[in-house]
């Protein structure tokens, strides 16, 4: 199946027209520049730059770039600030005509966990408007209590509305959405399965990540082809000042990262992690963990021009996991990921800042059945090349336009033994294209952020208003730092994962494009929220949401023969509420998030909860600052069980496959498992407590951390995989003590 379309380039024409118009109205000069970290030259996203006395300002974008348009001529003091950094001010003189370049190099200062999660006291401009966005940078990730080593996805799973399961293919579910409904971007490159097995780590070493944006719903134009959430990661460029490195070793894995400059123009960064072999783990801890993994990342960045902040980057990412059983009757699994991309960013056309990436991403999962009687061999591969570009247009006012497009060419190859017992192999090339227009403005206490996101290919091939997706976020300041926020958005998704819906727990999902004749999956999000500080040391955020799934793709339960489709469109809904509390005093930072959620799918006359319907989820974490350089952390998560269909009995089932030839009474039947009502039962609840103790030290130019951690402190058995046909059960990480040594020079 191949679809081809030519992408219109009228966007560039429109961009040029808007840029020319806004520049023509100028009455002063633009002040622009970048904000970087003085220690390593990394760009600082979402820093606030303000011209004091003028009441004008701007926030840096993901590239650390800011632009304050049309500043009247005169002498000013301009400051840049960001939590985690020391505020810096400069005196400037703005003339008439040429833009003034003002760069900032901010020095780091310690940040605590209480500052990591955004509510009314948000540091990021972005979160002032959006109901459902969280931003975290490296320091935020480091501040979240960890299992053995810091991890991005463990960190974001403390956010309300995000439910983790540690199932391999979809480690988290957002606001009642499916695991395949989360868009994961690494420097704009799509990553299809960003997790290592057994829920130990995500595949991204947090030390390569500069900034993480997490949208748990109603995300703005610019993000598409997913129904539930967006996690967008921006990586570091590498240290511009000197060659530096970081090493970490713990009982599970070891890692090494080095970075540095090459002349004044280039920087580089290389990072690799690898798990210890099962033999090693077994020898040390007498724990049989049938998994091993590795991941690696490299990046080379060229900073071409200072005034226009033109940068080019080449980055690559690789990861792999193996889950191998010593029992020849139990299947083996392996997963592979890689992504390679070329990025470019910089200021063009005066006030237009462009970010672009051309990428190739690859994901493969293989199930080797070996001698198993209950599973069959299978593999799924998705390989995608694409280009994504976003232009930010700064106008004379505070208003900002965003305009962008994404074109990608995924190839999906699947191999599986289907219900008929036939090896089914598919190989599909699809063309996917999106473009978007976004506008941000503020009027008094109101802030607006909205626009449209368009599924260009589906729109051109099928038409339909659902492919032009309006999205709007509105925020209004109340008293104090309290804000009320409302969001609306329409979303669609053309790529989904399918699996055997009758499995108790599925760890092998197959990516497919929506089958021909079916509508893409569609959802409308409604979100309302309020946040602010109850007391200086206590903040609260309360949000509620409703998602109307106008189209989902599920089993056709009425399929009888080959002329009936495998899948059909269904409808669904999910709704819930999230409460986030943060309490911070000098000795302790406390964080609590509770999510109540309900999801239902209606198909062919029955309504049932999908397998990702977790109704209650509670995350508690605390960091205790016991002494200087000595912190203790506790993290506890509990989630109610996911639905599954119970086994209600077994019987000898006849195939009757030659009923017209031989009397059926002589047929030898095969055992068949009868299932009860669909997803009417629940798996046991998931809960796990992790404890940690960290001591930070410095010896000469070497910084270090020694940590003692206990994962799953009370050794709760959380189910990772269960085969109802054999009773094989694999649990997630058991009680696992670990020690960590981390050195940085």
């Amino acid at each position: 199946m191949t679809t081809t379309r030519t992408f219109p380039n009228f966007l560039l024409v429109l961009l040029f027209a808007l840029s020319s118009t806004s520049a023509g109205l100028a009455q002063g000069s633009d002040v622009r520049g970048t904000v970087v970290d003085s220690a390593n030259g990394e760009r600082v996203s979402y820093a606030t730059v303000i011209i004091q006395g003028l009441g004008r300002g701007a926030a840096t974008n993901m590239s650390g770039f800011y632009l304050i348009p049309n500043v009247p001529p005169g002498a000013y003091t301009i400051s840049a600030s960001c939590i985690g950094y020391v505020k810096q001010t400069q005196d400037i003189v703005v003339g008439l005509g040429e833009p003034l370049l003002v760069n900032f190099r901010l020095a780091q200062e310690p940040v605590k966990v209480s500052e990591t999660v955004v509510t009314g006291t948000a540091r990021h401009e972005l979160t002032q408007i959006q109901t459902s966005v969280h931003t975290m940078d490296e320091q935020d990730i480091q501040a979240v209590p960890v299992s053995a080593v810091p991890d991005i996805f463990h960190a974001i799973q403390i956010l309300p509305g995000i439910v983790s399961t540690s199932d391999v293919n979809s480690h988290f579910y957002v606001r009642g959405g499916g695991g395949d409904q989360n868009l994961i971007l690494l420097d704009g490159m799509k990553i299809y399965n960003p997790f290592h097995a057994l829920g130990i780590f995500s595949i991204f070493d947090p030390d390569i990540v500069r900034t993480t944006e997490v949208y748990t719903g109603a995300f703005p134009p610019g993000y598409g082809d997913r129904l539930s959430s967006v996690v967008s990661l921006s990586t570091k460029d590498g240290n511009v000042n000197q060659v530096s490195g970081k090493a970490n070793v713990n009982f599970l894995s070891s890692k090494l990262q080095v970075e540095g400059p090459i002349g004044d123009t280039y920087t580089w960064l290389a990072d690799a992690r690898k798990s210890f072999s099962n033999t090693t783990i077994n020898r040390f801890l007498q724990k049989d963990l049938p998994v091993s993994f590795y991941d690696a990342f490299f990046k080379v960045t060229a900073k071409v021009t200072e005034d226009r902040q033109v940068r080019y980057g080449l980055q690559g990412f690789y990861s792999g996991d193996n889950m191998r059983s010593g029992n020849p009757a139990e299947p083996d699994y392996s997963w592979r990921n890689h992504a390679v991309g070329f990025t470019a960013s910089g200021l063009v056309l005066g006030r237009v800042f462009v970010d672009a990436v051309a990428y190739e991403t690859y994901f493969q999962a293989i199930r080797d059945a070996k001698n198993s009687v209950s599973v069959t061999p299978a593999s799924t591969t998705i390989q995608e090349v694409g280009v994504r570009s976003n232009a930010t247009l700064y106008t004379d006012s505070k208003d900002i336009f965003y305009l962008g497009f994404e074109m990608s060419f995924p190839t999906i190859q699947n191999s599986l033994v289907n219900s008929f017992g036939v090896l089914r192999q598919t190989d599909d090339l699809i063309v996917d294209g999106w473009f978007w227009l976004r506008y941000q403005t503020s009027i008094g206490p109101w802030q607006f952020d909205g626009g449209i996101h368009m599924d260009a290919i589906t729109l051109m091939t099928q038409g339909g208003s659902g492919n032009i997706q309006p999205r709007l976020n509105v925020s209004r300041a109340l008293f104090g730092n309290w804000k009320v926020k409302l969001s609306y958005g329409e979303f669609s998704q053309n790529f989904i994962t399918v699996n055997n819906e009758d499995d108790v727990v599925s760890i092998f999902d197959t990516w497919i494009h929506i089958p021909e004749g079916l509508s893409p999956e569609r959802a409308i999000h409604y979100v309302a929220g309020i946040d602010g500080n109850i007391a200086p040391e206590l903040s609260m955020s309360l949000q509620s949401y409703f998602k109307n799934y106008r189209s989902l793709v599920v089993y056709n339960r009425d399929k009888v023969d080959a002329t009936d489709p495998d899948y059909i469109n269904a409808t669904g809904k999910s709704y819930g509420a999230e409460l986030l509390l943060r309490y911070s005093i000098p000795i302790v930072d406390f964080y609590g998030a509770y999510t109540w959620s309900r999801s239902l799918i209606t198909s062919q006359g029955i309504t049932y909860p999908p397998r990702y319907d977790r109704q209650h989820n509670l995350n508690l974490l605390g960091e205790f600052h016991l002494f200087d350089n000595l912190d203790a952390t506790i993290r506890w998560e509990i989630g109610s069980g996911f639905p599954f269909s119970q086994t209600v009995g077994y019987y000898s089932r006849l195939s009757l496959n030659d009923f017209y030839v031989n009397p059926f009474v002589y047929e030898t039947g095969t055992p068949y498992i009868s299932l009860g009502e669909k997803n009417a039962a629940r798996l046991p609840s998931y809960h796990r407590m992790d404890l940690g103790l960290s001591y930070h030290f410095r010896v000469s130019s070497v910084k270090g951390r020694v940590g003692v951690n206990v994962i799953n402190a009370y050794d709760h058995r959380n189910i990772f995989y269960f085969d109802r046909k054999t009773g094989q059960q694999v649990d997630m990480l058991p009680f696992f003590p670990s020690a960590t040594l981390e050195l940085e020079y």
Binding site: L416, S652, P671
Partner: protein, 303 residues
């Protein structure tokens, strides 16, 4: 300042003490004993059969650990038509197979039948089926059978007329033959509708499969070439020429329940499906299995 710490550590102690209690997990619901009933009425036999046995619950998860089938031999089994009741009797068909048999019962095309099973231990089961009405089939141009070499690039067109109540149909085309060196020999060979490859990559005949009855007059095409290849294959098999004696055409029509069960239990007969589930279907109220029917009509063409 100490209060939060104290509270936290009290909570921590509580969680450590209580949290380690693991819930045992089994995907099994409490087992409910149910009867499994299989009966497929057919017009091609004077006796009808019904299997009646119990579902089971192995001690672990291996369904093969239960190796014996427990039959319910004491039930009362009756199939009723609008005009007559047919009592089924428990019979030992083989040392290991119990079946209920109704001798001298040949169902009538177009007739509805109601199954009633009363078991003193496992309750009452019931179901119904309507035997498809009589159908017809014919060869549009019989000269293609008589002089196949003259039509080797053509098709043999078989025209069917399905009876009321047929939800699926299957055409089978047989060649009756004798041998040139032994004219008393009589053999029958099914003609494939096409040829494909088996798992070893060897050429293998493909025979028609049960089709959905989308209209009352389906047409089935057999390439004459397949007919000729069958003759060639038989000649090779017997190392002598064969003498075609005639053609036999069978039209098998199945009712809705049997059609659905057959397809669902056999992977929807869909080799292109990407589904990997194994769903179930039953039209037995209060039980499992199937009560269906099929009607066989034939046309014989003598050369």
């Amino acid at each position: 300042m100490r209060s939060p710490l104290v509270h936290t550590f009290v909570l921590l102690g509580f969680l450590l003490a209580t949290g380690g209690c693991n819930e045992s997990f089994s995907p099994k619901a409490p087992f409910q004993q149910r009867l499994v009933s299989y009966s497929v009425l057919t017009t091609q036999s004077n006796a009808q059969y019904l299997l009646l046995y119990l579902n089971y619950n192995p001690p672990g998860f291996d369904p093969y650990s239960v190796t014996t089938i427990t039959y319910d031999t004491g039930a009362t089994v009756v199939v009723s038509s609008p005009s007559k009741n047919f009592q089924f009797h428990d019979t030992l068909l083989s040392p290991t197979i119990h079946a209920f048999v109704a001798p001298l019962f040949r169902p009538l095309p177009g007739t509805s039948y109601v199954l009633s099973i009363v078991s003193s231990r496992y309750g009452t089961l019931s179901s119904s089926t309507t035997m498809p009405a009589q159908g017809y089939l014919s060869v549009a141009d019989q000269s293609r059978l008589l002089y196949p070499n003259s039509f080797s690039d053509q098709n043999i067109e078989i025209d069917c007329v399905l009876g009321q109540g047929a939800h699926g149909y299957l055409v089978r085309f047989f060649l009756d033959y004798s041998l040139e060196r032994d004219t008393t020999f009589r053999g029958t060979e099914q003609i494939p509708i096409s040829f494909g490859q088996d798992s070893l990559g060897l050429t293998a005949p493909i025979y028609p499969v049960l089709q959905r009855a989308d209209g009352p007059k389906p047409i089935v095409m057999y390439p004459v070439e397949n007919y000729l290849q069958t003759i060639v294959a038989l000649t090779a098999r017997y190392a002598t020429g064969i003498k075609p004696m005639g053609a036999r055409l069978l039209l098998i029509q199945v009712d809705q329940s049997l059609y659905t069960y057959f397809n669902v239990a056999n992977g929807f007969q869909d080799k292109f499906s990407i589904r990997t589930d194994q769903p179930d279907y039953s039209n037995i109220r209060n039980g499992l299995g199937i009560f269906g029917s099929f009607n066989v009509d034939s046309t014989i063409i003598r050369y």
